[in-house]
């Protein structure tokens, strides 16, 4: 056995390599580059991500590497595509905002984003507890920093939840800092908890390798404890209730284009991690984890839909709606688990999960970008996003149909997609998930989910209402900046095109999980 055996098959890490090298390259370029035109770094990032995305199609990334700790399969590749696409759109749509927040430091933002993406892409193929945790943290840590990205502003008097917390007028307050801190605190606790659970798994199974664990682990109370901690820890990442508390606050506090990224890519990664573990070494112990997932689904659906109802801040509303959406993702997992449990086979459940994540990515990023486009038009040049306290309430959309018909139409399309209305991509995602769930035998859950999803239109339609039914007053016309506009256009086209002809994409998702 040669020392280099571990490098066998390392070519399947090509995409991860591109991202890693890109991240380091950006770091170097950032240092070398004069302060004036750091925006070029953004375009470089776009190029890199596009390159990586293309590579997932052109290169054969299937196989095993790192001595079995890393496996490239259809699922992992598909996940990578979602991450890279999310990164791509995140950069594209956020370019202006990033440049505005820190014109001289925008390179850091792109580096952090690339680092986080590296964590995600590695996570998608991890078959080893160590690699799983390392890549998980690699993904998480930059996000904490990015969430807190932004300037310090002064705000009008704000009411706090308690009298002692009320801020006097004109207090300096760093909204992104609060967003980052909350994400961090909940995230850190959760990841340590998950880590503890993983350490227990290691103890039970005696190995860090999934394939070994799958053979050696025995069910028991310790395992139940471990699984609960792992599920809980990762549920934080996907923002499933009751581990969702950071979601609305971070969404509201952080800069909108970042939230667009945060709301989709890490969640997809969280699902990837859950799938690796629960349908990998724990595939034989579905009785242990499926009740937990079921509980998370129900709580998420109820809490997310209920809490979204009274929100006036669009980003908060989307945060809660995202909690509910994650219920759908978990349903796909549940369906996949059931089939794995009963027949030991890969199932459509995973394919539905992939398709759902992609659909969610497209529509959710689209909404956030529309918010950003509208809010950005209300800002003056020297204002940064976090300084204006109210630029993302429902009121900013007033009369958008007249101020920018195109944006309004795109926004309508995205919220309808999120609401699961036909001929938008989100509809197919939800229906396919429900289809899988029914096959798995959770008919009652299908009815509950479908009904709550329809009821969820109440708050999605609030956005439509604000855009189409309220007079614009003296609000100015809106024009999205070029990059942002392009991102919105692309996402809208995707929503429409896949919504009209979902067949090929769904087929691809099936192929990715080894069906069809």
């Amino acid at each position: 056995m040669s020392a280099f055996d571990a490098l066998n098959g390392v070519e399947i890490l090509a995409v991860d390599g591109i991202v890693a090298v890109g991240a380091l390259g950006l770091l170097l370029a950032d240092v070398a580059m004069p302060a004036g035109n750091k925006r070029i770094l953004g375009y470089c990032t776009l190029l890199l991500l596009a390159l990586g995305f293309t590579a997932t199609f052109t290169l054969d990334l299937t196989g095993t590497a790192l001595g079995g700790a890393y496996v490239g399969d259809g699922f992992a590749i598909w996940c990578k595509r979602i991450f890279l696409a999310a990164g791509f759109f995140g950069v594209l749509g956020g370019m202006d905002e990033t440049a505005r927040i820190g014109p001289r430091r925008q390179g850091e933002y792109y580096q952090l984003l690339m680092m986080s993406l590296l964590g995600m892409t590695l996570l998608a193929g991890a078959r080893d507890l160590i690699l799983l945790m390392v890549s998980f943290e690699l993904m998480s840590l930059p996000l904490y920093a990015m969430a807190a990205w932004g300037g310090i502003g002064t705000y009008p008097k704000r009411k706090g939840p308690l009298p002692s917390m009320e801020l006097p007028a004109k207090t300096k307050w760093h909204r992104p800092a609060e967003a980052g801190l909350k994400l961090y605190l909940v995230g850190a606790v959760s990841s340590v908890v998950a880590l503890y659970g993983i350490s227990l798994l290691f103890g039970i199974g005696g190995s860090t390798r999934f394939d070994v664990l799958a053979r050696t682990m025995n069910a028991g109370p310790v395992m139940s404890l471990a699984v609960a901690m792992i599920v809980g820890g990762f549920a934080f990442k996907i923002g499933a209730a009751p581990f969702h508390m950071w979601v609305p606050d971070t969404y509201q506090g952080a800069s909108t284009p970042f939230v667009a990224f945060l709301s989709v890519a890490p969640k997809a990664a969280g699902f990837a991690a859950l799938v690796q573990l629960l349908l990998g070494p724990l595939a034989g112990h579905t009785d242990t984890w499926m009740p937990l997932v079921l509980a998370l689904i129900i709580v998420s659906l109820l809490v997310g839909n209920l809490m979204a109802v009274p929100q006036q801040n669009v980003k908060r509303m989307l945060g809660f709606s995202g909690v509910a959406q994650m219920g759908f993702g978990l349903m796909a997992l549940l369906a996949a688990g059931t089939v794995a449990h009963t027949s030991g086979q890969k199932s459509e459940g995973l394919a539905t999960l992939l398709f759902f994540l992609a659909a969610y990515m497209v529509a959710n990023m689209g909404v956030f970008f529309v918010i950003e486009a509208v809010a950005a038009s209300g800002r003056t040049e020297d204002e940064t996003a976090d300084e204006k306290d109210s630029d993302d309430t429902l009121a900013v959309f007033r009369g958008l149909h007249a101020r920018s018909p195109g944006l309004a139409l795109a926004g309508l399309l995205f919220v309808l997609s999120l609401g699961g209305i036909p001929f938008a991509i989100g509809f197919w995602a939800k229906v396919w998930v429900l289809l899988g769930l029914w096959t798995a035998g959770y008919g009652w859950l299908v009815v509950l989910a479908a009904a709550l999803s329809a009821a969820g239109l109440f708050y999605y339609l609030q956005i439509a209402r604000s855009m189409y039914m309220t007079p614009e007053g003296d609000l100015p016309k809106v024009t999205a900046r070029m990059e942002l506009g392009l991102a919105i256009l692309l996402l809208a086209l995707l929503t429409m095109a896949v919504g009209l002809f979902p067949g090929p994409v769904m087929e691809a998702a099936r192929v990715a999980v080894g069906l069809g």
Binding site: P422, L434, A450, A451
Partner: protein
């Protein structure tokens, strides 16, 4: 409409992609509108009219091309959408579809003209309207359950914006002890109405999704094709819950009691053409869904639950009629009368007899024409009087003799006067009800028709008859210009299809005769 074309010509006509045209025309028109400047209202209207005209012509052509001797589903075409799930854009039309396409074409054509006077944001209005009608046409020609559902949702959703933007708020009853609720929800407001309508219908469709998925899986998870599903014999267990699920899901749109409450507020708030389309056509989608999907695919379920379907329909008939009688807002009267008349449709469906089914489908057709006419008239009155409050009216026939005449015509069809389309439908439904296992339904239906006579004619008298109108109504007048189109078209259609019901009934009867035996089973043999 049989025999108007020679078989050769009809066959040649059937070769054209008529079904695609009928669905695509409004959609293409809607897409065209995206590129039209809102400052050119005439161009917008003309495109709207053009889209609906093409659909109307195509639907007439479909009726002409349909081969009566062959029957069954014709003009089929297929375009796979999601091969792995067996979802494909299967189009085809049967006799029911032909008649309802014709109805939709007529109503939409009339509606395009009735929307002539939409003052603000006409482009978006026509766009939404055309998208909505695309969905309606789509439902009637879909042979794939999933695509059926897709179009169904498309037809339902634009209502939210159409009512919310162009609607009007209503004066509703005093809040009484519910002031805290009324205030929070803004009961009577157009946005309230729009939201209530949307949520109730979509939550209903959650049940449809569940039943649809269950049927798909039990049929082997290979295809949503209705013809495939029809061949499947679903287990009794599934039928016993899936049928009521479909009934409530689709029935919410058909206004079944007690899930009808979106209807009065929604119809009263909606702008003219939207009310016309919604009450005239969309509510029929619900009933069509119950019959075409629920009953045809789940025959045992339909048989087992017929008592409930018909019982609730009987409640609908009386309840809607009585509620209409107590209304003072003209649109609420029409809206509640729709609840009552849709009860007739559901009653006919529940009888599971040839006559009942023929009557049910014909009632969809007749009620569509009638209620379309009504809402067009109410729109005209409202536009001129800026009020729908009947106690303020009186003597309008002096200034609006033609509106009065057409309104009376609508009323007469509504109360089931022979010679008008409404009678044929009601008569067949009641006859079917009498033949069914629950004869008392027929008596309820007859009583409902009588109560209808009371409230519609009372309203007519209060609005149009009596001494010269109050001086404040100086501006009211008879229709002018394009306003005539809806009135003459729908009014004449009521008479023609009432006097010569065979024009449409031949189509309906063909499909009924083909599909009923599998639903009614032995019952059919006994009855005729």
């Amino acid at each position: 409409m049989t025999g108007l074309l020679s078989p050769a010509n009809a066959a040649a006509l059937a070769e054209l992609p008529l079904l695609h045209i009928v669905v695509a025309a409004p959609f293409v028109a809607a897409m065209l509108l995206l590129f039209i400047n809102d400052t050119k209202p005439l161009a917008v209207r003309l495109i709207g009219v053009a889209g609906s005209t093409v659909s109307l012509i195509a639907s007439v052509a479909i009726a002409l091309a349909y081969d009566m001797t062959a029957g069954g589903i014709q003009m089929t075409s297929s375009l796979p959408l999601v091969p792995s799930l067996g979802i494909s854009l299967e189009l085809g039309v049967d006799g029911w579809g032909v008649s309802l396409l014709l109805l939709t074409g007529l109503i939409m054509f009339a509606g395009a003209f009735a929307s002539w006077t939409v003052k603000t944001r006409g482009r978006e209005f026509y766009l939404m309207l055309l998208v909505l009608v695309t969905g309606v046409f789509g439902v009637f020609v879909s042979l794939d359950l999933f695509v059926f559902f897709l179009f169904y949702e498309i037809a339902v959703l634009p209502m939210y914006l159409l009512i919310g933007i162009w609607g009007s708020s209503n004066k509703v009853a005093d809040a009484g002890p519910f002031k805290f609720i009324w205030k929070l929800l803004d009961v009577g407001g157009k946005e309230y109405a729009a939201m209530k309508l949307t949520l109730m219908l979509l939550i209903g469709s959650a049940l449809i999704v569940a039943a649809m998925i269950a049927m798909y899986i039990e049929a082997g998870s290979t295809s949503f094709d209705l013809r495939h599903l029809e061949k499947t014999h679903f287990s009794l267990g599934l039928q016993m819950w899936a049928f009521p699920a479909l009934w409530i899901g689709f029935g919410t749109l058909a206004g079944i009691w007690p899930f009808h409450t979106w209807s009065p507020d929604g119809h009263a708030s909606a702008p003219t053409a939207v009310s016309m389309l919604h009450a005239g056509v969309l509510m029929k989608l619900g009933a069509f869904g119950v019959m075409r999907i629920g009953m045809v695919l789940l025959p045992e379920g339909a048989r087992e639950w017929a008592w409930l379907v018909g019982g609730v329909a009987a409640i609908n008939i009386l309840y809607g009629a009585f509620a209409a009688m107590a209304q003072k807002d003209l649109k609420y009267i029409i809206a509640y009368s729709s609840v009552s008349h849709m009860g007739v449709v559901m009653l006919g469906a529940a009888t599971l007899t040839v006559n009942g089914w023929n009557g049910a489908v014909y009632q969809m057709f007749a009620h569509g024409l009638m209620t379309g006419l009504f809402f067009a008239l109410v729109g005209l009155i409202y536009e001129q009087a800026h009020s729908r409050w009947i106690p303020d009216f009186g003597g309008f026939a002096k200034k609006q003799p033609f509106i009065a005449a057409f309104f009376t015509l609508g009323c007469l069809s509504s109360l089931g006067l022979p010679g008008l389309a409404g009678f044929v439908a009601e008569w067949l439904v009641f006859l079917g009800a009498w033949q069914s296992a629950f004869s008392w339904w027929a008596i309820v239906g007859l009583l409902g028709a009588w109560i209808t006579a009371i409230y519609v004619l009372r309203a007519t008298r209060r609005i149009f008859w009596g001494p010269a109108p109050d001086p404040k109504w100086t501006d009211i007048r008879d229709p002018i210009g394009t306003e005539w189109v809806a009135l003459w078209l729908l009014g004449l259609a009521l008479v023609v299809f009432g006097a010569v019901p065979g024009l449409v009934m031949d189509f309906i009867d063909l499909t009924t005769a083909e599909t009923l035996p599998r639903v009614a089973g032995q019952a059919l043999e006994v009855l005729r």
